[in-house]
């Protein structure tokens, strides 16, 4: 028998064996008998009227089984792709919500918008036939940038959405902010762009759909972070398939980062088509197809102002943002730049008054939705940048100005002026830890060493907080969520004492099979190896909202913890009967039920056996079996945060920024598996560094073409871009989750862009540089340096 491996240990991951040996089971690995191949035909134009599609030549091509278009979908009365959040403006007027047809009808609104679906015996035949479609487009002018989109005379995407504005959203006390600005000793101002990103999980999206006429059931295998939500949205709202007739399976999924947490049109089209052709259909996106169809992230243009008193205390913060939604509203789209952005503008500071206006705007680009961090990196970037600007303008040290405004540990729970109440935290503790770990006191020595080589060295700080663990349902409902956001877990104890857990979150790299098994091992005293975690199949798992927003451990782990409590509670009843003792006298510890104060005990295995072979069992008062389910809906978000310190070296000859040191001290609450948490921090940080230094989705203004549409054009972080990072945790416990956990999936991506850019600006500050937009590419920095007056030698 193996060992209990519980909370705080770092066992090697259960999931690794199959991945290391090439035996993972990703959607593109699956084959079904009689399987056909599907190819999506996508708009090559950013904006055009779709006048007609002649499919005769394509239908006559070898191997072609069917060609489906928006007209077929309309004839079958299929629904629009739903948006899960509805936001309103200050007067309570709901956002404009134009239909999002799964195959374009009447118009195409971005390069990549789906126009037709070709099904053939092989992918080669489907691709060849797709070339034969005659599509009559009347090309219209495109608009891709948010600033341009709501200018008078801009191309209009929808007839009933004037000026392309989906919603003019606001948050906070505008009058209080204006009054505070009038009293300010200093006002810092900053205009910035939060660059558009493409998530690029290494596994491209894919789907297989199959219809079984004998049972009238559909099965969809899809690269999804939330199969139950796909089943609900697609079955109930798009295709009108009853939930019990629709199985959605998300097997091994090769990374998500938000990109795979939406209900995509491809899923609906392929499922619908599988019944029409009565054959299984497989579609696997190419990487270039992913670039023009995976939902993009970020894309803000922002004007911010921070009011301070003469001592550098923040009095008020005012933010005006234009947020790009792309051509349609995606599943979470309008929620990201509003509800997940405005409420985080307080950061870790005591700013008493905050006002935020966000104009959510349609453009001829891929729909924009959540990407790792989702709204919170954008909020952190605005705030942490303007804090540096204010410090520099007022001649206050950047660490000192943060200290003067930080929420002290004792002030938690802390109510911000922007809805959220932080339950716990210690930003000062994280800052102090990071200053030591980053060896800030010797930075001057390192800067001089760089200068002697002709390089400019800079240091950047980001002290931040985020909100994660979506739910809570009640709060989210008030903000506009159209569904609940709880999580569920079932703990099935087998007659021999081993455990299978069915959980509604989805594991696509986070190590849930390991972390969740540790929780069960600890709570039930069963061996780590005797616990398996099942996820990603609506036929095997009761229900679930999936994995996004760092919610799996916070919400799913809590449901699991509650379910194990129920198992113990029932086990105590069985033990009381077998041991002829009162239930209140039964204790459960280290896998044993014992009568308090005696040596009479039953093992967990004995109780499990008794539950399934109830010959001696209180059948009058207790049902046989040992399987318990729990749903959990938290009372608040969790608020991880921390301090990140980046150190960069800029080569003035080439404009190249090299990240030379990176330190993060994060408060993620209780750490279940330190090895996995470190891995999450590493990965998150590098995605944030990618945004700061390399990544940028660029559209051509007039044609709406995506110019950065491949891994050749869109720069992803590589191994040689990074130094060895130092990451550590400085935890305060969440006061409302059962285990004190806060979530760790996104902190790295949220804290890092501001730290890196603050370091780049610091490196160039002696040249009068006050801001650098992301990504800080060699081209951008070199141009900045050409415009600055370069000193003969670096200082």
């Amino acid at each position: 028998m193996g060992n209990v491996i519980g909370i705080g240990a770092s066992p090697k991951r259960k999931e690794d064996q199959r991945f290391l040996t090439g035996r993972g089971n990703y959607v593109s690995d699956i084959k079904r008998p009689g399987m056909t191949a599907g190819v999506f035909v996508r708009s090559p134009h950013g904006h055009a009227v779709l006048r007609g599609i002649d499919r005769s030549a394509a239908l006559a091509a070898p191997g072609v089984i069917a060609v489906l278009t928006g007209a077929d979908a309309a004839a079958d009365k299929l629904g629009s792709l739903p948006c899960g959040w509805g936001i309103s403006d200050a007067k309570g007027v709901p956002m404009k919500e134009p239909p999002f047809p799964m195959l374009a009808q009447g118009k195409v609104r971005f390069v990549g918008d789906m126009v037709a679906f070709v099904i053939a015996e092989t992918p080669e035949q489907a691709n060849a036939a797709a070339e034969l479609l005659k599509i009559d487009y009347e090309v219209l002018p495109s608009v891709v940038g948010v600033l341009e989109a709501f200018r008078p005379g801009a191309p209009q995407l929808f007839d009933d959405v004037p000026n392309n504005i989906c919603c003019d959203w606001e948050l906070g006390d505008k009058a209080a902010v204006e009054s505070a600005f009038r009293k300010a000793a200093h006002v810092a101002k900053l205009s910035l762009v939060n660059n558009r990103l493409i998530g690029n999980p290494m596994e491209p999206r894919a789907a297989i759909a199959e219809y079984e006429p004998g049972t009238d059931r559909f099965t969809l295998w899809t690269t999804s972070q939330f199969p139950h939500v796909v089943r609900f949205l697609m079955g109930a709202l798009v295709l009108n398939i009853p939930q019990h007739k629709l199985r959605v399976v998300a097997p091994d999924v090769g990374g998500g980062f938000g990109v795979k947490q939406f209900h995509y049109g491809e899923e609906a089209v392929i499922t619908w088509a599988a019944k029409r052709v009565m054959r299984p259909i497989k579609w696997v996106a190419s990487r270039s197809e992913g670039y023009v169809s995976d939902r993009h992230g970020r894309d803000h243009v922002t004007e911010a102002e921070l009011a301070l008193d003469e001592t550098g205390k923040f009095l008020a913060f005012r933010v005006n943002t234009l947020a790009n939604m792309g051509g349609y509203l995606s599943t979470f789209g309008p929620n990201i730049p509003t509800n997940l952005y405005g409420p985080l503008l307080g950061g870790v500071y005591t700013t008493p008054a905050i006002y935020c206006n966000v104009k959510v705007v349609f453009t001829n680009t891929v729909p924009v939705d959540a990407y790792r961090g989702a709204g919170r990196p954008e909020a952190t970037f605005v705030l942490e940048r303007i804090v540096d600007v204010a410090a520099s303008e007022m001649g206050i040290d950047r660490v000192e100005i943060r200290r003067r405004n930080m929420i002290p540990k004792e002030a938690y729970p802390y109510q911000t002026p922007v809805l959220v109440q932080y339950d716990s935290g210690d930003p000062m503790g994280c800052l102090d830890g990071a200053l030591v770990a980053a060896d800030v006191k010797n930075f001057g020595v390192r800067k001089s060493a760089s200068a002697s080589k002709g390089k400019f060295r800079g240091l950047g700080y980001s002290t931040y907080v985020e909100a994660c663990g979506l739910a809570p349902s009640r709060f989210a409902g008030r903000l506009g969520a159209r569904g609940g956001l709880y999580e569920s877990a079932t703990v099935r104890v087998h007659p021999t004492g081993q455990v299978t857990v069915m959980i509604g979150t989805h594991n696509h790299g986070q190590g849930h099979e390991t972390t969740f098994a540790q929780i069960v091992s600890e709570k039930l005293g069963v061996a780590f190896e005797n616990v398996d975690i099942v996820f990603g199949d609506t036929d095997r798992v009761q229900f679930g909202m999936g994995t996004y927003g760092s919610r799996s451990l916070v919400v799913g782990g809590a449901a699991l913890s509650k379910a194990t409590d129920k198992v113990v509670a029932k086990g105590k009843k069985i033990a009381a009967h077998l041991l002829e003792a009162a239930e209140v006298d039964i204790q459960f510890k280290s896998g044993k039920f014992s009568v308090a104060g005696t040596d009479r005990a039953k093992t967990f295995e004995e109780i499990a056996g008794a539950a399934y072979v109830p010959h001696d069992y209180p059948l009058e008062v207790l049902e046989p079996g040992l399987e318990e389910q729990a749903y959990y809906d938290p009372v608040n978000f969790t608020y991880p945060g921390g301090c990140h310190i980046a150190e960069v070296e800029v080569d003035p000859e080439t404009g190249t920024v090299t990240l030379v040191n990176y330190t993060a001290v994060d408060d993620v609450g209780t750490v279940i598996n330190p090895m996995i948490v470190e891995g999450q921090l590493h990965g998150g940080i590098v995605q944030g560094v990618g945004q700061a230094l390399f990544e940028n989705a660029v559209y051509d203004e007039s044609s709406g073409q995506l110019l950065s549409g491949s891994l050749m054009d869109y720069c992803m972080p590589r191994a040689d871009h990074m130094p060895m990072m130092k990451v550590a945790t400085h935890s305060t416990l969440c006061t409302h989750t059962p285990m004190g956990v806060k979530g760790c999936g996104e902190v790295g991506t949220i804290g890092s862009p501001a730290a890196v850019i603050n370091a780049v600006v610091d490196a160039l500050s002696h040249l009068g540089v006050t801001h650098v937009d992301m990504p800080a590419t060699p081209n951008r920095i070199w141009r900045l340096l050409q415009n600055a007056s370069l000193p003969v030698a670096a200082e």
Binding site: T21, G22, H508, G509, I676, E678, R718, M724
Partner: protein, 161 residues
């Protein structure tokens, strides 16, 4: 056309269209799905295999190149011929948490084994430079670099035994 080659130690003959890519042959015809396809521009490295001992991206190699050659894929990587034990590089990736979602992992491992074979005394800079053609979106590379160095050391130790 008919092509004969050695696949993971076993003589293999296949009937295949000459315009087929090696990655497609492996995945579709031979059901060896451990070799992954993550891009269409030879950038990501998820499809790396060893052709006559050298790492190649199988998504840009046409099947005629296999004729008479020796091909090793992730499914054939093992501790010793015929053993059920994992290769020291695989063990190192598990030990040092050098993988998360697992999609880039087969290509990373094949590249890593080739790097360590070519240069037994790998430095951190060698590893980072050597992984230039393999993209990972999950790990931030740190634990991959640690894993490759540990795996290379274990390969050296095994050679010395």
């Amino acid at each position: 056309m008919q092509i004969s080659f050695t696949l993971n130690g076993r003589p293999t003959t296949v009937e295949v269209e000459p315009a087929t890519l090696v990655a497609e042959l492996l995945r579709e015809q031979l059901s060896l799905t451990g070799t992954h396809i993550g891009c269409d521009t030879s950038q990501c490295g998820a499809c790396v295999v060893h052709l006559d001992g050298l790492p190649v991206k199988s998504c840009t190699l046409l099947v005629p190149a296999l004729d008479g050659a020796t091909l090793l894929t992730i499914e054939g990587l093992q501790g010793a011929p015929g053993s059920n034990r994992m290769h020291p590089m695989q063990e190192a990736f598990r030990e040092h948490h050098g993988l998360q979602c697992g999609f880039c992992t087969p290509g990373m491992l094949m590249t890593a084994v080739a790097l360590a074979t070519e240069k037994p005394d790998l430095t951190e800079a060698d590893v980072r430079h050597g992984l230039e053609g393999n993209i990972c979106r999950c790990t931030g590379y740190q634990n991959i670099v640690v894993s490759v160095m540990a795996g290379a050391a274990a390969m050296n130790a095994a050679k010395g035994e």
